[in-house]
């Protein structure tokens, strides 16, 4: 339980540093942490990260700006990393298919780095965060519509170094 207390205190610190109005509050985030602990995921695993913090943030078309709702997810990731000190993560940046392949490789890299920079900015040591870009090569959702494209413009935090 020591780690959970640490997470909660970190979340409070992160919330204090944010002035963005209209963000999801910590009250909505904390229950998911409790659920994750209760479900008994293997500590430091991808499943634990996904359940306890959320592993994916989404972007607007041709943008690498971290949205307000993404900031909440990334603060939870930072707290989770603090609670799992041995874990190294790789941020995989992705793009939708509505661009050229090489531009999208660069855009995926830019998105992955935007997430990495945000995490470093809220206290995660940089040497724990790697990045990789998949451009448009690994869509999460198949389809030729805005719903699929939006689901594919993302950065996924993955436990482990680039293999």
């Amino acid at each position: 339980m020591r780690s959970l207390a640490l997470i909660l205190s970190l979340l409070v610190v992160a919330a204090c540093s944010s002035t963005e109005p209209g963000e999801p509050t910590l009250d909505t985030a904390v229950p998911s942490l409790n659920q994750g602990q209760g479900a008994g995921f293997s500590p430091g695993s991808q499943a634990a990260l996904q359940a306890e913090a959320g592993d994916t943030v989404y972007f607007a078309f041709d943008s690498s700006a971290i949205r307000a709702e993404s900031q909440a997810v990334l603060r939870q990731q930072a707290a989770w990393l603090e609670a799992n000190p041995g874990v190294i993560v790789t941020i995989a940046g992705h793009a939708d298919e509505r661009g050229t392949r090489e531009y999208n490789l660069a855009l995926g890299e830019r998105r992955a780095d935007a997430v990495r920079s945000y995490l470093i900015g809220i206290g995660v040591p940089g040497d724990r965060i790697r990045t990789i870009s998949y451009g448009e090569e690994r869509p999460a959702m198949a389809g030729d519509n805005e719903q699929a494209w939006a689901a594919n413009r993302r950065a996924v935090t993955t436990v482990g170094a680039v293999s």
Partner: protein, 437 residues
């Protein structure tokens, strides 16, 4: 006499004309958007026995398919031919028997063997209405080289009629795609430009993208995910691979300089993508761009002095030209929408690109100064234009979401003659080899 081919056996020599050499020109003008294809008869090549006759028929079929695929020729069905291959070989053409089937040009030839089993293939091209001979050549090669000999003959005919260099004795490297959209398996594949002699260069265990031929036609640079950090590797047509080492970030978008000595590429560091030129001999690099925007997809002009590339430094992806030794970049794209994937024609006169407007993708061409922009295609997604070595034809990939397929297409730079290239699987990221020597 030119010596070509790995074993140096494929050779060409001029043969003595059978008919009066041409004075008048039988030509096809290909600078307009539409052409009247030239009706041409390609007689099965004569052989002294059944096996050689079969080979001669196959050679004629490859020649006819090449010429027909250019859109500049209309090949006449051999069933309509009156004069037989044997009679052609014995007596030369009787033009009065070719005029009634409206053949304006006639190709005839003969296949024979040397003591060592090598093939000797003669061909002659005639202007039927003038009754004159336009070209005659003799090729010598191995039995296995019959397709290359046919392509070389087609190149000679194309060159003689159009006054442009041919592009049929060439290869296409591309990425073969297989599996569901969310977990595509991608392999490098290589084939002759007509789809023959297809083979895979990688096994599909790692993601590979954007293969690009070196000017030698046998070395290919591409992006591989096989070694963790995505990076550029070189592979030869025998499958031997090595990494382009020494970069601390992701490298991608490789393009060779026209002399093959340099590779322009993109290096991503800290989320920022910039252009570099890598010297293959000294294994040193020079940084070309340095800014917070994305700079990628470089392509050399045929002199090697200039590079066109894709950048969002102005707020959206556009095309820019800069000296390959470094210096100021000039924006050249000013039409509607977003631009990417520029490719400088080997002739130097055009730059092909992808243009994205709303829900449509286009392949287009413009002058290197940005003038005379023309969109050649329109679809859900057209990507990755690259030129044939004569600069007349652009190859690209098209995704059709209704049919759930991505395939290679070619189109003349005039916007005429859109054709799908047959591939065994889905296909993307094509690159066209130089004319083989």
């Amino acid at each position: 006499m030119m010596r070509i081919g790995r074993r140096g056996l494929l050779q060409a020599a001029v043969v003595t004309p059978l008919a009066t050499p041409a004075l008048a020109q039988l030509t096809v003008t290909i600078d307009r958007g539409t052409v009247r294809p030239l009706p041409i008869a390609v007689s099965p090549f004569y052989g002294a026995d059944a096996a050689l006759q079969d080979e001669g028929r196959r050679i004629a079929e490859v020649i006819a398919a090449d010429l027909g695929s250019s859109g500049l020729f209309r090949t006449i069905d051999p069933l309509a031919y009156i004069q037989s291959p044997a009679d052609l070989a014995a007596s030369g053409p009787r033009f009065a028997e070719w005029r009634p089937i409206n053949a304006e040009a006639l190709v005839m030839g003969q296949v024979s063997t040397l003591a060592g089993g090598e093939r000797v293939v003669d061909f002659r091209l005639f202007d039927v209405f003038a009754g004159s001979e336009l070209r005659g050549l003799r090729f010598t090669g191995t039995e296995a080289e019959w397709r290359r000999i046919a392509h070389k003959i087609a190149d000679e005919i194309y060159a003689r009629i159009t006054s442009e260099t041919g592009y049929f004795d060439t290869r296409i490297v591309y990425v073969a795609e297989d599996g569901p959209e969310t977990a595509r398996v991608k392999r490098l594949a290589i084939m002759d430009q007509d789809g023959a002699n297809h083979s895979f260069l990688t096994r599909g265990d790692a993601l590979v993208l954007t293969p690009r031929f070196a000017p030698d036609g046998t070395t290919i640079a591409y992006l591989t995910y096989a070694y963790g950090q995505p990076q550029i590797a070189l592979i030869d047509t025998g499958g031997n691979e090595r990494l382009l080492g020494g970069f601390e970030g992701m490298t991608f978008s490789p393009r060779f300089s026209p002399d093959g000595r340099l590779l322009a590429l993109t290096l991503a560091e800290g989320g920022n993508s910039d252009l570099y030129v890598y010297d293959r001999r000294s294994e040193t690099r020079r940084r070309l761009t340095d800014g917070p925007g994305i700079d990628t997809s470089p392509s050399f002009d045929p002199t090697g002095g200039q590079i066109v590339f894709n950048s969002d430094r102005g707020g959206s992806p556009q095309l820019y030209v800069m000296p390959s030794g470094g210096g100021a970049a000039q924006r050249i794209s000013f039409g509607q929408g977003r631009y990417g994937s520029p490719a400088w024609s080997p002739r130097g006169d055009l730059i092909a690109f992808v243009n994205q407007q709303g829900s449509d993708f286009h392949i287009g061409v413009m002058r290197p100064n940005g003038a005379d922009e023309r969109l050649l295609t329109r679809s859900y997604m057209d990507e990755g234009p690259r030129f044939a070595p004569n600069g007349r034809v652009v190859i690209f990939s098209r995704t059709d979401p209704q049919r759930g397929r991505t395939r290679l297409y070619s189109i003349d730079v005039t916007g005429y003659n859109l054709r799908e290239l047959a591939t065994p699987l889905d296909a993307s990221d094509p690159d066209w080899s130089p004319l083989r020597r």
